[in-house]
Subunit: 192 residues, 2 copies
């Protein structure tokens, strides 16, 4: 697959086939994604792979509850539609994805958000190149329960940046609309 | 070019041919990069394109001076080698790149670092697909002089996230070493 094709193919996918994603495939994708750049080649990203629907449901419930708590305490802003959605017990923030990859890293790393976002884009492309869909689920990042975090192998020092769902897409969704690039200024070499 | 080839080709490049990068090529790359995902498809990235060596030098000097000032006031930490480098008048943080693209956006956007980093990776790939090299230059982000910011079309509300240099590589640098992916835990479906 060429990059131009891949660019068109990479979409945020929220509806998946039942089919599980093999751990060998996940390992291949993560191996390929090590080529992502990071500040000073520091490579701060760590991964937690959840290949279990029951655990995914528990993570969804935990994240929803914490986000609603933050909203109630005015620590988070949410649109009324999101509040409704999060209060709906049947809503799984990870949709019906068979697998979630959490990209996490040390709170001490100043560039962690950026390093993990670069890593996320590599994982998204490496997945798309294998016919897999992905979506970054910001709603799924609020995992605080010490028991759940321990199950994930995450000590207190680690911060979740990017929860990515991954699976075989039911269909390739239509592209969402994009604006033309907003270029504020072009400063060109003076002629002469 | 396939994605596998592109993955191997995308490197942080710090040494460029004299050859300028045409504005049509930059426009093509930015157009292609609009396909980058962003939180809620909010598309907050804005661009400033500096295709002028004299302005690039001024931006380098401004950023170096501010970073050294922050360091002196203990607002930034820098290794002794970096301090030496920044004090060297001949050192241009953008190396000899003929073009710099600043990815910027509103301070009000909570996910700005992540949105701009995803955009940066798309620009890096779109550039590599055209035989161009890029490098994220964190040292070049400290632009505060109101006159310079006005020249860049940047009001107070905007924050620089990603200064990217772009140009035709003198040579394709050897890949920098990468560790194997650090997977903290795999949680798999219980069998039976």
């Amino acid at each position: 697959m060429t990059f131009a094709e891949l660019l068109q193919k990479r979409r945020s996918v929220r509806d998946y086939e039942q089919k599980a994603v093999g751990i060998d495939t996940i390992n291949e994708i993560l191996q390929e994604a090590t080529l992502a750049p990071s500040a000073s080649n520091n490579q701060p990203c760590r991964f937690v792979v959840i290949n279990c629907r029951e655990t995914i449901k528990r993570l969804s419930d935990e994240s929803k509850a914490n986000l609603l708590k933050d909203f109630a305490q005015k620590k988070a802003s949410l649109s009324p539609e999101y509040v409704e959605l999060l209060k709906n017990e049947k809503f799984n923030v990870f949709y019906n994805a068979p697998c979630v990859i959490y990209i996490v890293g040390s709170r001490a790393v100043h560039s962690l958000d950026i390093d993990c976002a670069l890593m996320a884009s590599y994982i998204m492309f490496a997945a798309a190149a294998r016919g897999l869909g992905t979506c970054w689920i910001g709603l799924g990042e609020h995992i605080r329960d010490p028991k759940l975090r321990a199950e994930m192998g995450m000590d207190e020092n680690l911060r979740i940046v990017a929860p990515l769902i991954i699976g075989y897409p039911k269909e390739n969704p239509a592209p969402s609309a994009r604006n033309a690039p907003k270029i504020l200024r072009v400063i060109s070499q003076a002629k002469g």
